[in-house]
């Protein structure tokens, strides 16, 4: 029987405050967190997927009406927002990189930039929503649309608001998460040994960006030709 006192066994749980009791080592914990986040992303794919399906069905049924109604969306705003969001993905990726290297200042800076871009996106979105409200294009009792494709306009706008609204909600959650991480990052909580929360938030943020990558052409660029 091996003499346990002859070898100074290091208990990984004692060595690291970040290691949860159910895991054997930090790598297992990290791999498991990553797996969990990707699974969550898959369920988000299916969640938005239902809306994409509704969109696909109605667009296939009423292609002309959809194309005509879509022209009421502002391409400039939409394109700007797309570029803003892609920029936020860049800064998010750089934030994750900083977290892993332990460069505290860079981490916080990039997180703040990401939050800023996200907020700009939401601001522009809010402006667009306001315009639609003023024009009477918000579905519900106050809906009023005259023009090409009128008979299916409410359907289009229902999908527009449902999809971009759900997306915006996810952005809000993301920004809140980033704020929390920025505070933790400023306190030096992340470094080469432990950057998992930042990385997981990164995955989430990029996924929300991917949703918009599809939403933008689907909603804004339908009937431009």
């Amino acid at each position: 029987m091996p003499d346990s006192t002859s070898v100074a066994a290091v208990d990984p749980h004692a060595a690291s405050a970040h290691l949860a009791h159910q895991f054997e080592d930090a790598e297992q914990q990290y791999e498991t967190a990553s797996l969990g986040m990707w699974l969550f992303i898959v369920q988000e794919i299916m969640f938005f997927g239902g809306l994409f399906t509704a969109y696909a069905v109605y667009r296939s049924m009423y292609p002309n009406a959809f194309a005509q109604v879509s022209r009421n969306l502002d391409v400039v705003f939409g394109t700007t927002n797309t570029l803003v969001l892609i920029g936020s993905s860049l800064t998010m990726a750089l934030a994750v990189r900083a977290a892993r290297f332990g460069t505290r200042r860079q981490l916080v800076t990039y997180l703040l930039w990401t939050m800023l871009f996200g907020t700009v996106f939401l601001g522009i979105k809010g402006m667009e929503y306001h315009h639609k409200w003023v024009e009477g294009f918000v579905p519900g009792p106050g809906f009023h649309y005259t023009g090409a494709g009128a008979e299916h306009a409410q359907l289009f706008f229902s999908l527009y608001f449902a999809m971009t609204g759900l997306h915006a909600l996810h952005m809000v959650v993301g920004i809140v998460l980033l704020a929390i991480l920025a505070v933790m990052g400023a306190r030096g909580r992340f470094g080469p040994a432990y950057s998992t929360p930042v990385e997981m938030a990164g995955l989430y943020w990029h996924f929300v960006d991917v949703i918009w990558i599809f939403l933008f052409p689907m909603l804004y660029l339908l009937g431009r030709h």
């Binding site: 930090a26 394109t79 570029l83 052409p217 030709h225």
Partner: protein
């Protein structure tokens, strides 16, 4: 943690690519290629952009096979939902009962 670091330069290149593709998709939208081709081009560009985000920003290219399987599974299931539902809508007019 376990995988290689992506350089800042690579991230910037990906950003430039994404921005370019965005410009492209807007530009092509104004050209009439016929309904089907407009759709196909737009979808292809979106898929390409997604691939760039996933591979580089989300580190998919450094990830384990299991991660690829999970992502693939999610996409596959989305296609099942879309495909079967659309196939019903598309064939409603066929085969009069």
């Amino acid at each position: 943690m376990t995988h290689r670091e992506t350089s800042t330069r690579t991230y910037l290149s990906v950003f430039v690519a994404l921005a370019s593709l965005t410009t492209l998709t807007v530009a092509v939208a104004y050209v009439n290629l016929g309904e089907h081709w407009n759709n196909i081009v737009a979808l292809s560009i979106s898929i390409t952009k997604t691939a760039l985000v996933a591979l580089f920003f989300m580190h998919l290219r450094d990830s384990k096979r299991l991660t690829w399987l999970i992502v693939g599974g999610g996409v596959f299931w989305l296609v099942v939902l879309l495909g079967f539902t659309l196939s019903d809508v598309a064939t409603r007019g066929w085969l009069a009962l």
